[in-house]
């Protein structure tokens, strides 16, 4: 085991500001949905819209970062060890089995994470973002002060946006819980805050693996 600098500064900034924005958007969004009462409808709408612009900006930055750094490759899903990973979370960890995959700066995500996060990026986020943009500009005015008529009924836009929000909220619940399944309860969260995490040495791990396969 040794300290590894796994999450870079931008990555941490992106992660936590996105987390804060999503949390804030959920609060205001479900107020607009008349599920909770916090700021009042008018303020909730105003806050929700402001925060959504911030989130759009942030996501723009993060997409740029992912592609310029090559980090996007982290999300390429692999089938190998996916089963092992599921087995670990459902059975293995109760027996005290070790993590089936090794976390490293090159491979931050286990196969299950990669699939779920890819789902986040390709399904949940586009769902709320695209429907959100349509919602934002629904019945807005064009340069001639004429209301832009959209053939998509508001109901469809709203329903997709709501569904996306529910998916995201469930994702957050599981995601937050899963951070406690690291080497210690808070190891993963600490890593996302400081950037440093105690990880098994890749070399050691490989040797161990070799040993066990020989046996």
């Amino acid at each position: 085991m040794r300290q590894v600098y796994i999450y870079k500064k931008f990555e941490r900034f992106w992660h936590w500001s996105q987390a804060a924005l999503i949390f804030f958007l959920a609060l205001t969004g479900f107020e607009i949905h008349d599920s909770i009462h916090l700021f009042g409808f008018e303020k909730a709408v105003a806050f929700h819209r402001s925060a959504s612009y911030l989130l759009l900006g942030l996501i723009g930055l993060s997409i740029f970062w992912h592609f310029t750094t090559g980090e996007w490759k982290q999300y390429i899903p692999t089938l190998s060890k996916l089963k092992d990973q599921i087995h670990y979370y459902t059975i293995g960890m109760f027996k005290g089995d070790p993590h089936p995959t090794i976390k490293s700066a090159h491979k931050k995500l286990n196969p299950l994470q990669a699939v779920v996060y890819l789902g986040f990026k390709l399904v949940m986020a586009p769902m709320v973002i695209l429907s959100g943009i349509l919602y934002l500009y629904y019945k807005s005015f064009d340069v001639n002060d004429i209301v832009v008529a959209l053939d998509i009924p508001l109901e469809w836009i709203a329903v997709i946006h709501t569904l996306g929000a529910f998916l995201l909220m469930s994702f957050v619940v599981v995601h937050v819980y899963m951070t406690t399944t690291g080497h210690s309860l808070t190891a993963n969260i600490k890593a996302m805050i400081t950037g440093w995490e105690n990880l098994e040495d890749e070399e050691d791990a490989r040797q161990e693996e070799n040993k066990s396969s020989k046996n």
């Binding site: 941490r12 900034f13 936590w16 500001s17 804060a20 924005l21 804030f24 607009i32 949905h33 008349d34 009042g40 409808f41 008018e42 709408v45 105003a46 806050f47 819209r49 402001s50 925060a51 612009y53 911030l54 979370y89 960890m93 109760f94 005290g96 629904y138 019945k139 807005s140 005015f141 002060d145 209301v147 008529a149 009924p153 508001l154 109901e155 709203a158 329903v159 709501t162 569904l163 929000a165 529910f166 998916l167 909220m169 469930s170 619940v173 599981v174 819980y177 406690t180 805050i193 400081t194």
Partner: protein, 528 residues
């Protein structure tokens, strides 16, 4: 841990800064100030009618005044003779009826029912002299009453049941010399008192507007911009802008808020976007009848009760009649929340001689729906009641109500519905079976006046809520906050709470597992 704290503080501050930057406090709405500026200076007339010799005479009849007017304004009577204020009807295309004439001459209402056969009394609000029956000559310019609209002395009043002639005490010479642009008093002399008393019919037009503050009406407030009716209801060649849907049926020559306030009156883009579907009145007139009560229901079926053979009346604590032997039973309302309907500016009416298709009978019907691009949601006063009809011909009956003396079949003096119905229908040339009954009716009055100060406008939550909001009864569209897809909500809730329960069970299992392991370890230690 220090870094943790710093990071969370930084993130929180960034979010707050962002929200604050993008969420501006309301700056001044300049277009609003321009309008105030425009109406702040009151125009003085450039002519003084008291100096004209022709008006400095003793007028024997009101027609003489009209003739004097026409010596200078020698074509104005033609404009009047083409106006609906004079004709009590206008030509309109009506769905299902084609091009037809609609107006007080041939529609009914569910207040005093109708002017036909009662002209002697009802013509008090006709801009002419001598309408004693439906034989009135609408081409005689001598009978145009210029004074009722243009009197500037505030002394001109029409006599009760005098077929439109002024009260005998009116000093015609003084009135003629005072003529002016119509003031709110002129318009109000009829429009405030329609239905037999102040604010009876409209609910949003009443004498309180002559002296009110901004809480009652921001436009006409004495301590505000103090506008008069004709500041908005302008008239081109005596054709006054604005439509009243108890008698109007088409979306032409309407008067809309945006003529002054434009279609983007708010500084907030989101509020402006409501414009395409929500009439300004919907949010800006949260309640009507803010000063004096308006009639909400009128049941003619209760009329005709006598005490010791004599008609009587009952009043509520505010002095509003709750019962009149001649008219029946009433309900009144103050600060009434309107009902809301989709409305596109077109309406149809029950025209005398029509047969009843459904109950309650819609005396007038407002057209519009959520999927019609010309429709908006409007606040409406709905006046409900019952009134006399013929169950065999299925026609509403125009009864003869008024007569100066007994024995003329008029209900208000003879209290005999059968005779009143027969006399009324006979005069209209319509059949009457001899049987009468009472049928439920509804009448729709879009609310346009008594605009409240912006602090009192509807808040978002009054419509955007699941709990019985103002628009709860309207369907066919998605209203955020009010509407939801129940399946999506059910699925979403199951997923969210399911996830929470799932991770809780997983956590519990881990906890139990680790406790058990600890026990095993401690047992092992004990053995050693």
């Amino acid at each position: 841990m220090n870094r943790v704290i710093i990071y969370s503080i930084v993130v929180t501050i960034l979010v707050l800064i962002g929200v604050n930057l993008l969420h501006r406090t309301e700056p001044m709405n300049l277009s609003q100030y321009e309008l105030k500026q425009k109406f702040a200076s009151k125009v003085k007339p450039s002519v003084d009618h008291s100096e004209f010799e022709i008006l400095q005479q003793h007028f024997k009849t009101p027609q003489d005044v009209t003739e004097a007017c026409l010596t200078c304004h020698n074509k104005r009577h033609e404009e009047i003779i083409h106006s609906s204020h004079w004709n009590w009807e206008r030509v309109a295309y009506v769905e299902g009826k084609g091009i037809s004439k609609i107006g007080k001459k041939n529609v009914l209402n569910n207040f005093c029912i109708g002017a036909n056969t009662n002209e002697q009394a009802c013509a008090k609000c006709h801009i002419g002299f001598g309408m004693t029956s439906n034989k009135f000559d609408f081409n005689n310019a001598r009978n145009v009453d210029c004074m009722v609209c243009h009197d500037g002395s505030e002394e001109y009043i029409k006599g009760a049941a005098m077929a439109g002639y002024p009260d005998r005490n009116v000093n015609l010479s003084k009135v003629a010399q005072s003529v002016n642009k119509p003031s709110s008093v002129n318009c109000g002399s009829c429009h405030f008192y329609s239905g037999g008393g102040n604010n009876v019919k409209h609910g949003d037009l009443e004498e309180a507007l002559l002296a009110c503050d901004r809480n009652t009406d921001v436009h006409m407030a004495q301590n505000g911009i103090n506008m008069t009716c004709v500041d908005c209801h302008t008239g081109e060649k005596h054709n006054i802008k604005g439509k009243l849907y108890s008698v109007s049926s088409t979306d032409v020559n309407r008067l809309n808020c945006e003529e002054c306030h434009t279609s983007k009156p708010h500084l907030d883009d989101l509020l402006n976007r409501h414009y395409s579907k929500i009439a300004c009145q919907t949010c800006h007139i949260p309640t009507y009848a803010k000063q004096n009560a308006t009639k909400m229901a009128w049941r003619w079926s209760e009329s005709g009760k006598l005490k010791d053979g004599k008609p009587y009346h009952e009043e509520d604590s505010l002095g509003n009649h709750t019962y009149l032997s001649i008219k029946g039973e009433f309900e009144w309302g103050t600060n009434v929340e309107p009902e809301y309907f989709w409305f596109n500016g077109n309406a149809s009416h029950y025209v005398i001689g029509d047969t009843i298709e459904s109950v309650p009978v819609q005396i007038n019907k407002l057209y519009g729906s959520a999927d019609d691009i010309h429709s908006k949601i409007y606040p409406v006063k709905v006046h409900r009641g019952d009134q006399i009809y013929d169950p065999e011909t299925n026609m509403l009956i125009q009864p003869k109500l008024f007569s100066p003396e007994k024995g003329d079949s008029a209900f208000w003096v003879d209290f005999n519905w059968g005779l009143a119905a027969e006399a009324g229908m006979k005069q209209l040339g319509l059949p009457y079976s001899g049987n009468y009954d009472f049928v439920e009716t509804e009448m729709y009055w879009p609310i346009n006046h008594m605009v409240s100060p912006k602090e009192q406008t509807l808040s978002c939550e009054e419509c955007h809520t699941q709990n019985d909001g103002r628009l709860a009864s309207l369907s066919g569209f998605y209203l955020p906050g009010r509407d939801r897809n129940n399946w999506i909500d059910l699925f979403g809730n199951l997923l969210f709470w399911g996830s929470l329960i799932g991770v809780s069970i997983h956590a519990l299992a881990r906890l139990i597992n680790s406790l058990r392991k600890n026990e095993v370890e401690t047992e092992e230690i004990d053995l050693e």
